[in-house]
Amino acid sequence: MAISPFVEIDATQKLDPFKGVKKIPLEEYFTSGHRTCQGCESALVMKMMVKAAGPRTIVLGSTGCMYVANTTYYSTSWVVPWMHTQLGSSGSAGLGAAAALKAQMRKGKMKKEPINVIAFCGDGGGADMGLGAISASLTHPDYNFLILLYDNESYANTDIQLSGSTPYGAHTTFSPPGKMKRIMHHRWKKNTAGMLAAGHPECKYVSTICMSYGLLGMNCIRKALAIGGPTFVHSLDPCPKGWDYDPYISHELGELAVTTGIWPLYEVENHTLRLLGKTREIADKRYVRQPVRDYLMKQGRFAHFTKDDIDYFQSKVDEMWQKWLIPGVIPMMKDLEGDAPPAE
């Protein structure tokens, strides 16, 4: 991939993939002190994220569960430098910190060494409010940082209100099923990772992960940090409180999100798309997609669904797999036969 001669980029840390669970280091950089819910997958994402990154890392955290429930005055759980950033500012946070390191190292004001910069946000901070700043930051090829979006599909910290990343029909405190309207939230979940991958020609790495597949998720994060430039990782995190299920099935729900085809796992590395894990098996027809009913009916937020609602949900997922140009990534459909370009 051609890079402009005017782009000046510093070296990154060498972060080879962990070759198996047993090779993952024992050191923890996100430890006790937080007060996230039992079964919180997002807290697990934080733990795996800094484990994958290692100690020479700066973490900047947007407002959300992983701020309010995670980092309390006098009992921080972070063993790497961490700073709160505003809800919509993860993109600017990563960019600003990376620019500061780069300038000071170049000008001899700071010891030169590759330092990881990770700015994380929830779906409210990333898919809604902060999308503009994330998009802008991904166009700056000169700086090394990762934006990690932990997506628990609602504003879970503020009482479970719907976000642009909440799935169709879900019961949230802003979309309760009622006597007149069974489905208050009739918007389909935003395709954040696909949009960011497609819309940022100089971003070298975008991936979707789910920490039910922990090793894969950590290796995606390591790749995102090592490849250089601004990168984006989108993690789907089952949330016992917001999704309304027994905490012990958190991991199982993450797996079901992938095996039902609702949450495709993929990476776009240097503009090459690769489907990952079970998603790849589905695409290769080595694994049959599970019905979405198995995923939906385990969650209280879909308890009001009728058969019609489940069928509609299934049809949308089928459509994604059968008609999208690239399933889960590019929502434009192939329509070669009906293709009638406007007359010249």
Binding site: I58, T76, P81, M83, S92, G96, R106, I115
Partner: protein, 411 residues
Amino acid sequence: MATLTLPVKESRKTEEQEALITGAEAIAVACKLANVDVVTAYPIRPYDTVMQYMSQLVADGEMDCEFIVADSENSQFEIVKHASVCGARVFCGSSGIGWMYAMEPLTVTPALRVPMVALVGNRALDDPGAFGVEHNDALAVRDLGWMLVWVDTAQEALDTALIAYRVAEDRRMLVPLAISCDGAFLTHSQALVKIPSSEQVKKFLPRYDRGELLVHPDNVISVAPQANEDWVMEIRRQNYEVTERACDVIREVYAGFESIFGRKYGNPFFESYRTEDAEIVLLGMGTLSTPVKVAIDGLRERGRKAGFVRLRWFRPFAAEEIAKALERFKAVGVLDRDLSLGAPDLSGVVATEVRSAMYTHAATRPPVLDFLCGLGGREVTVRDAEKMAEITFQAAGGKPQPLTQWIGLRG
């Protein structure tokens, strides 16, 4: 786009130079001299000429910094906030409604104890859209912990920018500082400016050192973890104590400035013009000083003893010094280039603050009249200034005057 006309000479390192530059350009030159590390730009008139000049300095290799064009004012200020926390000296700026779009980072930056220097090219707030000067943009952050200073000339803009870095980054302060330049009248007006040498600036301005507050893997800290009724009040108190120290730090830095650069500003907080034997004074901020001073000279020629006080620092507000300086006059007329809709006596921001300071600190309390003038960039004319002085003389003579009146309004 304007091009730089600065002389490029080796001698600049050690000798003072003189150049014909605008107020905005003077600030850009100060940032270069201060060896700023990270700058973020976003377009809005009239502040943005500083960024046009600076981008040229970077393109020409005269200035070594990360020059980042942001996607909004909100991002602009967030980017430099994070850069400053990671140890970089930063510069930023905006105008009018753009400044308001950054209100969230403007709120958290002083709360986090993050120093930055920003230029506010003062501009009327929307709606209606207007390019002209009003002071309500910068004044919107007056309760948040920003330091706010108004300057009058390009020379003062350059000098104050250097002073600003030393004040804002002082370990006792660590808060952001905004330099207000009246849009067009100062941002775009050229004047001969003495440009100090980089050696002088090095002597005056120490390195920015966050010490144990630096966000870096060698210094593992958690910044701004969630707190509630258990600790927030104590944290607020720390920010409050910064404002208690502010006046002393400013005095100290001005003294240091004088000893190195030789230019004297007298009292740092306000400039007094022909006030020694004055019966009344007008008081205002920014470039309206020019017509007011001309009017004062005219009045003096006719035997009318009027003077002028130009307020520089609005935050901190040097209440006692200002009150002591004003108590001896028979009446004070404040020129407010701002509105504070619904405020006591429907007066502007400056008059309300001056009255508050006088109530507590003045031995005698002369009437303080307020004149709302020059809004939306309307010129404050010499005749306007004479009229305001005459009204103030009337009040001094015991004839009651309305506490707030509009000057220069179409009939």
